[in-house]
Symmetry: none
Subunit: 194 residues, 4 copies
DNA sequence: CATGAATGAGAGTTCATTCAT
DNA sequence: GATGAATGAACTCTCATTCAT
């Protein structure tokens, strides 16, 4: 039983996730989720009791799954510059697939639900990414690939630009060239020209 | 009569603006606005017939008022570097006053209302700002204040960072130091050190 | 002043009449009439205070105008059979112009407003028409044109058929042939064949 | 479950029917029906979503039930004249029970809802009844009970008179004598006097 | 556990009616 | 007289939430 209901729980979260991707957070109703899951109205309440709760669980799943964005896709002999390029390529894919991510739902959710500033989920995600990029740049500098006087500053700059592109993509749509242009601008600021 | 009702119209828009600032776009109901304005249910419909309509009007007012952000506040003998610094200071003020702007409402609004990509309101605003900053940087270069090989790229980078900071501010809150840090990073990339 | 307002009164009634023709009685609102008349909301209330009142006045006008259906259009030497034929032709015209009469509005009105049975407006109209047709038939019998043992019964039968055709026309629409067929059937029952 | 809700459905339709009989079609609101049924506001929407829909379903029930007006109530050895008399008696009962039928609601409904003329519900009902009466008259003629040169015409005449009486009954009310008089007139025109 | 019927609160919208100008 | 802004009642419809089965 516990096994079965655990699976149903996952099923609901995965289905709800699609709904949040499509409609953001605020406009999603319990009814929307019930209908998408094709379960009974009362049934949903056995597992969750509000869209907030469901969304937080969806987010939890999301985080667990995506933790290893970097670690997974890197070949043995990749240079820091390769890795950064790969990361940016990954980001680009997400940016352009406007309809396939939770971005806007997440923003909406954290706009309504004023969480404690310290240890904020979004903050932690952001800081973690910054840290990784920073290390990457430092490694690049050491390897003689990059020139950068302020790796932390550069890392932050990159992340804010990505966040700016993200919201732009969600609210006005952006063309591939636009992303390429920004990625190029970033890389040019780092890579040592010969 | 027309005079009075024009004033009431403005009054409604200003009051509604506050509601949008507080609650974003999606969760605002006609009832919210009616109550904020302290007018009758039917009364509001005399002027507007949906939150969409009201929001677009609020936006129109907003745009008209803020058109001259630059022109208004610049002294005669300001150098490009001064003007840019002033602009960034202005942006900082907006970023930190999380509660006093429509940012999130605008994002929500344009997330639901899929407008034509060409001539998109947000795109136009963005492009316009980019253009101004570009000119500014070019002027700075000519004046020997700035060093920049790609003024357009730099301008875009600045705007995306600002947009990233904006959404960060709305969804997790940001400290003053964070903004300062980014502004500094931007300026350091431009200004010629002696 | 009184002159002017009398004219406005007439104007309102005539305009309202068109509205009743189009929408029946029940679904007509004060707003509908105000808009059709292009006068102010409050203005209408200076003259009338409900759709009931307006409708009754419209009906009064109607009756005054149409009293002389018979008297007006009859030539000197018309035989009873001619007159009856003319009357039926007139009725046919009205029946087919489904959109141009108050029939349905009248029915709706008298369905809601339960008037005293005696001296009922519709009853009086009906009885009056019956009487005229009866006289006509009697005259036709005397003139050797018609054969009829029960002129009153025949007159009533004619009127009920006409009423049946009227409601049929309003609710399902009827073709010209249908009316012709019924008129023919009636005339054949009366006229002496040679 | 389905059993229970099917019963509730019927219950709603029967209750709504009474409301339509009382108020016609146009003035009936969902609220009226909710209150008559003593169910919750939202409850009704589980079954039907507009008065139109409810009315059409009521009409459907009505038709199914009344299909066998003739077949049911006829004894083995009834003559055509008996059957016609029975039919007219039945109609008389309906005509006089002004409060107990949907007549006016049906007229209102089909006045607002302009249906395709071909295959119109009211037309079909009318034509069907005409056909039956025609057959009856033909049978009567063959049996030597009736004299009639145009059975179809006579049948139509009867039906239009009945329709005229119906609307008269709904809008001004008619006395029993009036109906009797018309029935008598009709029968006298058919039956062969000895 | 699961279902889905049922409830009632609440948002949207329209109009009759009033009233200050 | 005439206007039209303003009000509030009434209706439509949707959903979160509960509960008997």
């Amino acid at each position: 039983m516990s096994e079965k209901s655990a699976q149903k729980r996952i099923y609901i979260l995965e289905t709800a996730r699609k709904v949040f991707i499509k409609k953001g957070f605020k406009s999603v109703t319990m009814k929307d989720i019930v209908e998408a899951c094709e379960i009974s109205r009362g049934g949903l309440y056995l597992y969750f009791s509000s869209t907030e709760e469901i969304f937080m669980e969806v987010l939890k799943m999301e985080t667990e799954e995506t933790d290893d964005v970097f670690s997974g896709s890197i070949g043995k002999n990749a240079t820091p510059s390769d890795i950064l390029a790969l990361f940016l390529k990954e980001q680009k894919k997400e940016l352009l697939g406007r309809k396939d991510n939770l971005t806007m739902a997440v923003y909406e959710f954290f706009f309504v639900n004023k969480f404690p500033k310290k240890n904020h989920f979004l903050k932690q995600q952001f800081e973690a990414a910054v840290k990784i990029i920073e290390k990457l740049i430092e490694a690049g500098v050491e390897a003689g690939e990059f020139y950068c006087e302020d790796p932390l500053g550069a890392a932050r700059n990159i992340m804010y630009v990505l966040e700016g592109l993200k919201i732009a993509s969600q609210t006005r749509g952006i063309a591939e060239e636009v992303v390429d242009r920004e990625v190029l601008y970033i890389m040019r600021g780092l890579v040592i020209e010969e």
